[in-house]
């Protein structure tokens, strides 16, 4: 009897998530095999693999795949490395530590569209931006970030948003580090770097795994930053898969090709997730 009640309590969540996963996904699979353009309704014949061929041979496809992976990899490295360094830096008490913490984590709560617009305009604008002013003051030629280094600009924006998250997690994790162990190591003559390298970093292995997993979920789907700052351009230089598919579906109205692209995104996410879930799943105590 008890079994059935507990199942009943779980049912709404499980059923809803199942529907949420299966219905749209099967529709995507179906759309990807038919000719379906919102501009030409009523011509929805079966076309087999054509949409996939079309999507894969799109000049932007491989650029978008590599941009997606470069964005993911760069932001992961930047946030984890700087996150570990900064959280180790603010681990011990100093004057105003709480305020420093609040300042450091704030960018995480800025919405992506605001993030992109602040950076695009007030920071990176080649004429009136802060960066241009700094370059000029140093006697250098100002850089037009969004035109010349579009992907790097996106990486900077996204890293700025996610570095606080890494810091937040690592700071929390460091508080549970064994101080006695550290003191003992100090007594034995270990210097700061040794303690950091051989005690702190191993202690952070699990939090790092968690940060990598969570960030990956969100970073594979970066969209708003690109949408409001570079619009994927110039050319395809800052287009990732998410943006390329959006472009196919809602700007070119080609549902068939966009669906095929959506399945590629799902495939890519699954390849990445397969390794991550296995690596991190072990670390999550259930």
């Amino acid at each position: 009897m008890k079994r059935s009640i507990t199942r009943l309590l779980m049912a709404p969540s499980v059923i809803l998530l199942l529907v949420w996963m299966i219905v749209p996904l099967s529709m995507t699979i179906y759309f990807s095999t038919i000719n379906y353009n919102l501009l030409y309704p009523g011509r929805n014949n079966f076309v087999g693999w054509m949409n996939f061929e079309f999507f894969v041979t799109d000049p932007g496809f491989w650029i978008a795949v590599s941009n997606t992976l470069i964005l993911l990899g760069s932001v992961l490295v930047i946030t984890v490395v700087l996150g570990v360094a900064l959280s180790a830096l603010i681990d011990k008490p100093f004057f105003g530590r709480n305020i420093v913490r609040v300042l450091l984590i704030s960018p995480f709560f800025i919405m992506p569209t605001v993030n992109a617009l602040i950076w695009k305009n007030m920071m990176m604008n080649p004429v009136y931006g802060i960066f241009a002013w700094i370059s000029n003051s140093l006697g250098l030629e100002p850089i037009d970030w969004l035109s010349n280094y579009p992907l790097m600009s996106i990486i900077i924006m996204v890293s700025w948003q996610w570095l606080p998250f890494a810091i937040l997690v690592f700071v929390t994790a460091l508080q549970s580090q064994d101080t006695e162990q550290k003191e003992a190591a100090q007594m034995d003559g270990a210097n700061g770097w040794h303690i950091f390298r051989y005690l702190t970093v191993p202690h952070l292995a699990r939090p790092i795994a968690v940060v990598v997993m969570i960030e990956t979920i969100f970073l594979l789907a970066v969209f708003a930053e690109i949408y409001v700052s570079t619009g994927g351009g110039p050319g395809y230089d800052s287009t990732n898969l998410a943006y390329l598919i959006y472009n196919q579906a809602l700007l070119q109205y080609d549902v068939g090709v966009a669906s095929a692209g959506g399945l590629f995104a799902v495939l890519l996410a699954n390849i990445v997730a397969f390794f991550l879930i296995r690596a991190v799943g072990k670390n999550l105590t259930v």
């Binding site: 749209p24 529709m27 830096l89 800025i110 949408y227 259930v286």
Partner: protein, 276 residues
């Protein structure tokens, strides 16, 4: 130099370095904030102005031009609506998995997490078409449904890790008195985990408030929350940085302040309790 002096010096240096980095990273937010009190001319002046006579004009212009209050209301309704709905659905599931775990509980939890791995863009087209066909395009209800489903896995996980930490003895005592699982949940577990439920809710609200993919793609003028309203300032119709800053400040201030107060809970939530 003695050892204590050395240590003191080190603390000061660490403090200075930390402050420098913190101010650097916070600078864009600070700059957005003060730019919102400038005139448009001051906003684009070279060299940038740090001291000026503040004006509050931008805020009223933002309200007039893009109806800030309507979009703020949309953000509030969708964030709170989706959060409350998700909590109602998730609490029984998390309770049942935490207190009556079966062989498959761990698998179900990992499967739920894996639905978060499904990139939204993979289902953009069907969701768009379904929303269109059911009249949920550009509607708050549509966003509430999507936000609920989007955050449900995280909410179940987070509640699960809170419930799991409750002392089992209390439940056993209640069971001795003949309470059914349903009674236990309502009368024993819920009152004991108000804190956990509250911080789960906070996390969900933050995630909904800042969600941009679905709100940009599924809403237009009527139901657009603040994330989408801000995007309308990206059009290159001139340099309206002061107004952009004012709109951004208004859009972010509530959630940033909110975030300052519950940073710790947010970590536990986002890491599914794996980092404490």
């Amino acid at each position: 130099m003695t050892l204590t002096q050395q240590r003191k010096l080190k603390t000061i240096l660490v403090g200075l370095a930390s402050w420098a980095v913190a101010l650097l990273l916070f600078f864009p937010i600070f700059w957005m904030f003060i730019t919102s009190f400038k005139t448009e001319l001051q906003a684009i002046s070279v060299p940038p102005q740090l001291f000026f006579e503040p004006t509050f004009e931008n805020f009223s212009i933002v309200q007039e031009r893009s109806d800030y209050l309507k979009h703020a209301w949309n953000s509030v309704v969708t964030s709170f609506g989706a959060t409350i709905l998700a909590l109602i659905i998730a609490i029984p599931a998390a309770y049942s998995m935490a207190f009556f775990p079966g062989k498959k509980t761990k698998d179900i939890l990992l499967w739920m997490l894996s639905t978060k791995m499904l990139p939204a863009v993979g289902v953009l087209v069907p969701i768009y078409i379904l929303s269109r066909d059911y009249g949920l395009l550009d509607s708050k209800l549509g966003l509430v449904i999507i936000f609920t489903l989007m955050n449900l896995p995280i909410i179940v996980w987070m509640l699960f890790s809170y419930f799991k930490d409750l002392p089992k003895e209390i439940l056993e005592a209640a069971r001795m008195d003949g309470a059914t699982p349903w009674d236990e949940m309502i009368k024993v577990v819920l009152p004991l985990s108000v804190g956990g439920i509250a911080s789960t809710g906070l996390l969900s609200i933050v995630l909904c408030w800042n969600e941009a993919f679905w709100s940009l793609n599924l809403t237009a003028s009527e139901a657009a929350p603040l994330t989408a309203m801000i995007a309308s300032y990206s059009s290159p119709e001139g340099l309206f940085w002061a107004k952009l800053s004012a709109a951004s400040t208004l859009a972010c201030a509530p959630i940033v302040i909110f975030g300052w107060f519950c940073q710790k809970q947010l970590v536990q939530g986002l890491t599914f309790g794996a980092v404490k």
